[in-house]
């Protein structure tokens, strides 16, 4: 499994480097490109976990659709802007960012440590998923989990998305109305 480990560390390095790139590039387009690389490396992590379906969906939705829209907006709004330049207008962001970053890192570490310690996490954890995949096949396992085990969260998420779409429509309409 040496190959596996090499792949993991390479991917991890790429993921972290590109994540740093997202926040350190001055040009919005380069930041976005880093984010795309980051999302792609996450997709490869999913592939390494045998979650080929989720990996593909990760590429399809995030890299293929969401980021394309980002790119669309960024290239359209600021085609020639290389950098923001000058003084950072939002200085308080530094403090807030560091604080929130620490909280997020702590939470993640807690979750990972807890997850690997807790015995009953297998029902939904990586091992459980691998077992399900072996039993039913990749797509089928995912479908079963989604529509049998987690149908309520799934539906809640879609309601949330519908609300988001409606909100976007309302906001968009109001802005258009003001312009006219």
């Amino acid at each position: 499994m040496l190959l596996h480990q090499i792949a993991f560390y390479v991917l991890a390095a790429v993921a972290i480097a590109s994540a740093l790139g997202v926040i350190s590039f001055r040009s919005a387009v380069y930041s976005m490109l880093s984010l795309i690389v980051n999302l792609m490396s996450l997709a490869f992590f999913f592939l390494m976990l045998q979650a080929i379906f989720i990996g593909t969906i990760q590429v399809l939705i995030y890299a293929g659709a969401v980021m394309v829209l980002f790119l669309f907006v960024v290239t359209m709004l600021a085609p020639d802007t290389e950098s923001v330049g000058g003084r950072n207008p939002l200085r308080w962001q530094w403090g807030a960012g560091i604080g929130l970053g620490i909280i997020l890192a702590g939470g993640l570490i807690l979750a990972v440590v807890n997850g690997s310690l807790a015995r009953d996490a297998h029902a939904v954890g990586a091992d459980g998923l691998a077992r399900q995949v072996a039993l039913h096949g990749n797509v089928e396992a995912f479908g079963l989990a989604l529509f049998h085990g987690f149908s309520f969260p799934f539906e809640i998420t879609s309601v949330l998305l519908v609300i988001a779409v409606l909100g976007a429509v309302v906001l968009g309409r109001r802005i258009l109305g003001r312009e006219e």
Binding site: G64, L71, V139
Partner: protein
């Protein structure tokens, strides 16, 4: 060597063959397209280089290779150089899951299976294809953006909007087929068609039509070739590219055409099968090739015939026509599959929807007033009523000084016969 090593060798060899074949087909596809379009337009087409012009792609390739590859001063160099490569890379890897034949050609050992005529049979094959083709837009958008040219940028933006909108319709149109077959694997879908004894075009005619339209838009071919509309945007995102980088983009476009044709052939027309005739050794590949070639010919045919659609109209068609229709199709197919109705239920439904759409469009055309033409023969040509023939009495010499300028509301006699 171990089995794993053999499987890796098989994958590498098959990939090499596929890439070589795709590049050759791309080269000859350009020749075929030029010859066929020339036929449509009563020209001869390129026939000088070698017999029947068969060496033309070689000559083109040489020319492109030796051309200066200009990088504009305003370009972002790194991305400008990388983006054609992204396009081609994405186009090539998308082809990995296209099956050119059945799994078990000889033997059942893992090594024998590894030599089956496709690079990989992913159990998410169709999704993989969609995911990869959704990445194709990056090559175009980044290429256009990095050129530092307004025309390129406009082309790139058009492309981004177009591809994102049409991917949704493609995905939903294909979902009907996936429901019927119950698998996402490309090989599995062909097997499902054999098992059910039909091609899915029969069960999903509406999905096929929607897919055909959306896929044409997805690969930026006429009449949806807005990103490179040469009459409006010079050459769109391609404007600043020259030499090999330009041909890389062309390569990506043609390979994408082959790929979407392959999806159509596999999902709707039984892939490598042809009513049992696929049993003859070597023939599956022939059937597959014929099917794809027909689709490629239709691409060329459409390009020779139709004017280009406008950008906003394209978005309107995508979101207001294709998307609702594909959702209708999806819902009905889901119903049919869930209730266990036979395949012809969704087939009839799809045909019905197509018929309704056709009748609506036809009626809108016929509403325009028919007009008889000068020769007196009734020409079955529906001419709109906005333009009429005005008969002005020949002015005599004395009157001509006044200038017989008929105002818009002047009595105008519509002429029917001479």
């Amino acid at each position: 060597m171990s089995d794993v090593a053999w499987i890796v060798v098989a994958a590498v060899v098959k990939s090499a063959i596929a890439i070589g074949a795709l590049l050759t087909i791309f080269a000859y596809m350009t020749l075929v397209e030029r010859r066929v379009i020339a036929r449509f337009q009563r020209r001869v087409g390129p026939n000088r280089a070698g017999p029947l012009g068969l060496l033309q792609p070689l000559a083109d390739g040489m020319k492109m290779a030796f051309k200066e590859q200009i990088i504009p001063t305003k370009a972002r160099r790194l991305i400008f150089v990388l983006s054609p490569a992204i396009s081609v890379f994405v186009a090539l890897i998308a082809f990995a899951v296209v099956p050119l034949g059945n799994t078990t050609t000889w033997g059942t050992s893992p090594v024998a299976i590894a030599w089956a005529p496709f690079i990989a049979d992913l159990n998410v094959g169709v999704l993989y294809m969609l995911a990869i083709s959704s990445l194709a837009v990056y090559g175009i958008v980044l290429g256009g953006w990095s050129s530092g040219n307004h025309y390129s940028l406009l082309g790139a933006l058009r492309s981004a909007a177009q591809m994102v909108s049409y991917e949704v319709s493609i995905g939903l149109a294909l979902a009907g087929v996936l429901m019927l077959s119950g698998t996402l694997s490309m090989v599995g879908i062909v097997h499902a068609q054999v098992a059910q004894g039909i091609w899915f075009i029969l069960a999903q005619p509406l999905a096929f039509v929607l897919y055909a339209i959306a896929a044409t838009a997805e690969v930026n071919r006429a009449p949806f070739d807005l990103p490179e509309a040469e009459q409006e945007l010079v050459a769109g995102y391609l404007t600043e590219f020259s030499g090999l980088r330009w041909s890389l983009y062309q390569m990506a476009e043609y390979i994408n055409m082959i790929t979407v044709s392959s999806i159509a052939a596999t999902l709707f027309f039984g892939g490598w099968t042809l009513g049992g005739l696929e049993g003859i050794p070597g023939m599956p590949f022939v059937w597959y090739t014929i099917k794809v070639a027909i689709f490629l010919f239709i691409f060329i045919w459409v390009r020779a015939t139709l004017p280009r659609i406008r950008y906003d109209q394209l978005m309107k068609v995508g979101w207001q026509a294709l998307l609702p229709l594909s959702i209708i199709n999806l819902v009905f197919t889901g119903l049919a599959v869930a209730l266990g109705w036979p395949w012809w239920a969704s087939g009839l439904f799809g045909l019905g929807v197509l018929l309704i759409v056709a009748v609506v469009l036809y009626n809108r055309l016929r509403l325009r007033q028919a007009m008889e033409r000068q020769s007196g023969e009734a020409v079955p040509l529906a001419l709109p009523s906005s333009v009429r023939l005005v008969r002005i009495a020949p002015a005599t010499a004395s009157e001509s000084g006044d200038g017989v300028v008929a105002a818009p509301a002047a009595p105008a006699e519509s002429v029917t016969t001479s």
